[in-house]
Amino acid sequence: MNRLHPLSAAVYALQYGFVWLWIPVFLLVVLSGIFDPVRAAWMPIFAVIGFALGIAYGVAYYYRFGYRVTEDTFDVASGVFARRSREIPYGRIQNVDIRQGVVQRLIGLAIVSIETAGGGDTEASLNFVSEAEATRLQNEIRRRTAGARDRRRGRTGTSTSAVSDDGTDLIGPRRPSEMRDDGTNLIGPRRPPEMRDDATADPDLESLGPGTGAGESVTDWETHADTFAEPRQKRLFDLNSRELLLYSFTSFRPAAVAAVLFVFFLATDTILEFFLAMAQPVGGPADLETGTTGSYGVLTIVSLINGIVITYLLSVAYTFATYYDFRLGRVGEDFVYERGLLQRYSGSIPSEKVQSVTVTDNPAQRLIGYAGLWVETAGYGPDSSGGSQSAVPLARRDRVYGFTENLTDVETPAFRSPPTLARRRYLVRYGLVGAAIVAIAFAITQVTVLERWYLAAVVFAAVPVAAHLRYVHLEYYVGDEHLVVRRGFWRRRTTVIPYYRIQTVSTRRSIFQRRLGLASLVVDTASSQSFFWTAPTIYDVYLEDGRDVHRTSRKRLQSALRERADADDSGLSVDFT
């Protein structure tokens, strides 16, 4: 069993020390109130004892924590008193992520997380190991996962990959300097299985991980290049500074709102003073108690603008820091990516684990002709937005469409739209929302000094626009091997789902839809459940069309399965002849 980095012993010791310090303090406070002989004055002694015990526990935790890379599984054993040992088969691993905070980067440590499908938690988390060890583990696990895949194929056949070999040309060489000869080695001969083991203990493995800046096509196997041709990393996409800035300024993170609200609750007084000071030059009140309706109005508007600007800037900074120096590469059949200014992330996604691919854009990005590309797996991503990971944060739209077509093999979609009857539904729906807003305005005028509630009726002007915008961004395409679903105006998502990945298909009709003869089709793929995530849905098509897509999806799922089975059979015969 391998141990974590020795420094983690110190971190655990301090963590548990400070937590356990509070246990005797708390107990003494409670007990001294109940029993006379117990004195609160004992507190310093017991606090020190608690701290010492915590340190002992932390150190023991370090010594009792072990992990191991075995032939078939990744093993983790942990627990001081209650032991848990866990074995994760390589074939089940969805992705392997490396995370480094600022402090950890300074002292050269990293956290490795291993995700499998299912379970609401990271299956194995190693904090901390050294950078070199983290990269070694990531590569090692990736190689073993590929090995497990090869063995499975060797047994059952070939070409079960979700991504065809064309996928290696995902983006192609971008700059002459990157036109290396390694493209041809991508699917080169793998090392025979019996040679795998001695290399695992190889101490002088070059790292290509975060911090070293060595992502430039360095591989572990250069020293062994003469014995076997292991796939090298091929660079697929680098987020250049122009794209990074565009991405930061055109995207908005809801987390920024939460952060601003949190700070506001922490320092309400200071912030209110700041807002007052900002509003005074343009006619705000001198303080919160004395003011006229007009000056309060000015204060509200100025504060609102301030709040929006601050939130937006925070979101820009957050996006910038998160996606700084983003790179996507490909090693064998796995995608690997790195990103982050202060906190570095590095992850690997096996391409056969990709469930669906989504192109996203918001109105600002559509205006400048850019879009982003996300891939969905069934594990949890570092963004904790389900298993969705950014493969290309932002690039020119045609380029992103090109990536998508290469990645999934989907033909250029000829989109179909729902009937215009659907637009009528949204008109009614948003009309009701408008009515609700007017009703709220009316209620406000009843309890405050404000009058003229009918001015709120101006929201009705937005209703037809909103209904139309929602309608025009709803599209779908039934391809030969993929279903393409587009929906959403603010964050438009165009999802490409291979029929092979479909889990369930549902046709839904609410009472309103039934009246109009419409239906929505929900196409579910395997993924982590999350609050914000909704299964790809084709909204409001005619029932007949919906049923048609439903039938087609089921039929093509079955034929895709048969094709794969046939491919496996032929693979077998090749193996035995």
Partner: protein, 153 residues
């Protein structure tokens, strides 16, 4: 298409009774602490909720149907939103039979089919006689094993 056991209506009507009772208690609390609610209005609301609940239960029983098709388990259900779901046998992860205390008292049990999907990840067929539930579980398990493909997760 196969329907559920008629006795499931009793269970669902029972749920309607509970909902009606909750409404009654909430209104009584409002009457006690906030503002006066006439007893007739209280009775009317409770009665209305009960009638709606019972009607919902009966309608739900009428629309609930399922069928084992050649490639998938197919279900139709829903009063407000009518949902037709197909669960391909290849995608079945595991199958449970479950019954709660009330279901047991009524001599019913449920079959729950799990997939790796996020939405509708568990598909529940309620209100089956225990023998039928077990039989369905066995059939589904066999069909799932038979059609097992290279794992898609």
């Amino acid at each position: 298409m196969e329907s559920l056991h008629p006795r499931i209506r009793l269970l669902w009507i029972g749920q309607g009774v509970i909902t009606a009772a909750v409404f009654g208690v909430v209104l009584a609390a409002v009457d006690r602490w906030l503002l006066e609610v006439p007893t007739t209005a209280l009775a009317a609301v409770v009665g209305l909720v009960f009638v709606l609940g019972a009607a919902y239960a009966i309608r739900l029983y009428q629309v609930w149907q399922f069928e084992l098709q050649p490639d998938a388990l197919y279900l139709e259900r829903g009063v407000i939103t009518f949902v037709e779901t197909a669960v391909p046998f290849v995608r079945v992860q595991h199958v449970d039979t479950q019954f709660g205390p009330i279901e047991r008292a009524l001599g019913l049990s449920s079959v729950v089919v799990y997939t790796a999907g996020s939405r509708n990840a568990d598909v529940r067929i309620p209100g089956l006689p225990p023998t039928r539930a077990r039989e369905l579980q066995d059939t589904l398990r066999e069909l799932a094993v038979e059609s097992e493909a290279d794992d898609a997760v």
